[in-house]
Symmetry: none
Subunit: 290 residues, 2 copies
DNA sequence: GCTTGTTTGGAATTTTTGGTACAGCTTTTG
DNA sequence: CAAAAGCTGTACCAAAAATTCCAAACAAGC
């Protein structure tokens, strides 16, 4: 889920900050807990209650009272908060930089671009070479029909992929997401077929259904998704996750596009012997028209 | 080459690194686990076994087997390692981008990514802020109908833009490039209308024709193109060029996507007052369906 | 010095979590 | 095509963790 509630992402005041402010109102043992936590923030809080208590030199119940006092429902909830805070901080090192220190380009554009570039780097880092290569191999097998599909936003990317790959090789098509549009086509799908699905959060049930049906019939499913993994991952043979978080109310698909283009480039190169004449033929046909 | 001889601070080989290397030798469900972990490293591993298993789409025992295979005595030990690694990394700001890490990801993918990133930077540099802002302003005017269009490859990007913007505001649509499909619609196009065209080299005559016709009827044309400028530039009021050259037989549209997403983000923010209720309503409608 | 209210830790309790045995299934191999 | 090996999930159990309860210790007020 995305937090659509507030537009300008004002940093939530860190828990550490709150603790410092409320320090005076703590009981002696709560203070020990607080100091202990702040001295190693936030890692000190990631252990067990017993460990925390022992390090702070107090008892477990005191630790519990401490976190309750901070407004958490329990120790696990407290830990979850720490993790999320840590993750948010680590993933957006850019947010720290002053927002108006960029000179060139539209400021909004520049900031957006930096964020997207971060996504691309992170995406590349997290993709296993073997996985990428395996997908290239799969898409380069001309005996296997390839079908692209995607959700309401990602469908456009699927189309983009399809429009390129269909020129490189044959048996490439695009399947619309709605079940009514693919139900009858499923009879054609079998062991040899490859489904390449694009699906990011707000995962679409119809796309999932398509992939599950195809997988049940023996098709090989390749999934391009976000790091949280679409439910399709459960039936997918290969998963390529891309980072998608951007300073926007929408997610960014740049990482998915990157993977897509890299795949197309690799397959084109791999099949160059047969792709070249094909591409030339397509070009010739296009020029004949008028 | 740099002289690294003096200091041999061999980074403790991150667990992530080891996982990437051993990826090939994993069983299918272990790969799932590995992927899941890498895509969110290391936070994905900080939850409970059950949570981890569920997110990766595998069973809890498989997760246990996975961590055992990595050489840990148990899940808690595995988590402790992750925490320590994270802490170490966070405390040394140098570790940010360890150069020995660069080689990761599929080599082809990594090289491609660097090239794309270069394109994005160049694209941002070459866009006049005023031009960008003017387009945002134009697209934020709800009284002006907006029509997206594009060529055989870029059409997908136009669709992508349309699918987002149509949720933010009304009077947004997509026009297919072939003249037969838009000829009759042109009668509707007038002074108030805005055409946003995507067109990169191997410029398509039909898209050019569409824009020329629309411009002749008084419509405002916005063009997203490559640095060599599509012929549409002659009739366009605003031109946003993106760098597209990549190590591939194909051009890369990442720069166009970047501009598109930045535009959508800016317009969404600009129209937030009216966009928010719209987006919520759309969400509600989508959830009613089943 | 007694009482009252607060704070604290030990021990019991409950919930959650990690771990294991086993059976079904898939893939590989002969 | 059958047997074997390997992988994976269900069901169950043990362990450990969080949480609650209660009585002791302490401080402040009369």
């Amino acid at each position: 889920m995305k937090s659509d509630s507030s537009v300008p992402p004002i940093d939530p005041p860190s828990l550490a900050e709150r603790i410092r402010l409320e320090m005076d109102s703590f009981t002696p043992s709560e203070k020990r807990a607080a100091h202990m936590l702040l001295s190693h923030y936030p890692f000190a809080g990631l252990d067990t209650v017993a460990e925390f208590a022992s390090r702070a030199g107090i008892s477990a119940p005191s630790v519990l009272r401490f976190v309750t006092r901070l407004g958490f429902g329990g120790f696990p909830e407290f830990q979850r908060h720490l993790r999320e805070e840590l993750e948010a901080q680590l993933l957006s090192p850019l947010a720290k930089a002053s927002p108006s220190d960029r000179s060139h380009g539209a400021p909004a554009l520049a900031a957006f671009a930096e964020s997207v570039i971060g996504n691309l780097r992170a995406t590349v880092e997290n993709i296993a070479p073997a996985e990428f290569d395996a997908v290239v191999e799969l898409l380069s097998d001309q005996r296997r029909p390839v079908h692209f599909t995607g959700g309401r936003f990602t469908g456009a990317l699927a189309r983009y992929a399809e429009s390129h790959l269909r020129i490189v090789r044959s048996h490439v098509d695009y399947i619309e997401g709605q079940p009514a549009l693919w139900r009858d086509r499923m009879i054609e799908i079998g062991r040899k077929d490859v489904i390449v699905a694009f699906d990011i959060r707000r995962y679409q049930e119809d796309v999932t259904a398509l992939c599950e049906t195809a997988a049940r019939q023996g098709a090989t499913v390749v999934l391009l998704t976000d790091p949280w993994l679409s439910p399709i991952a459960r039936v997918a043979r290969h998963v390529l996750p891309a980072h998608i978080v951007a300073p926007s109310n929408w997610d960014s698909s740049a990482g998915l596009l990157l993977i897509t283009e890299a795949l197309v480039a690799a397959v084109t190169k791999r099949l160059w012997e047969t792709a070249k004449p094909r591409m030339e033929a397509v070009e010739r046909l296009r020029n004949e028209k008028p």
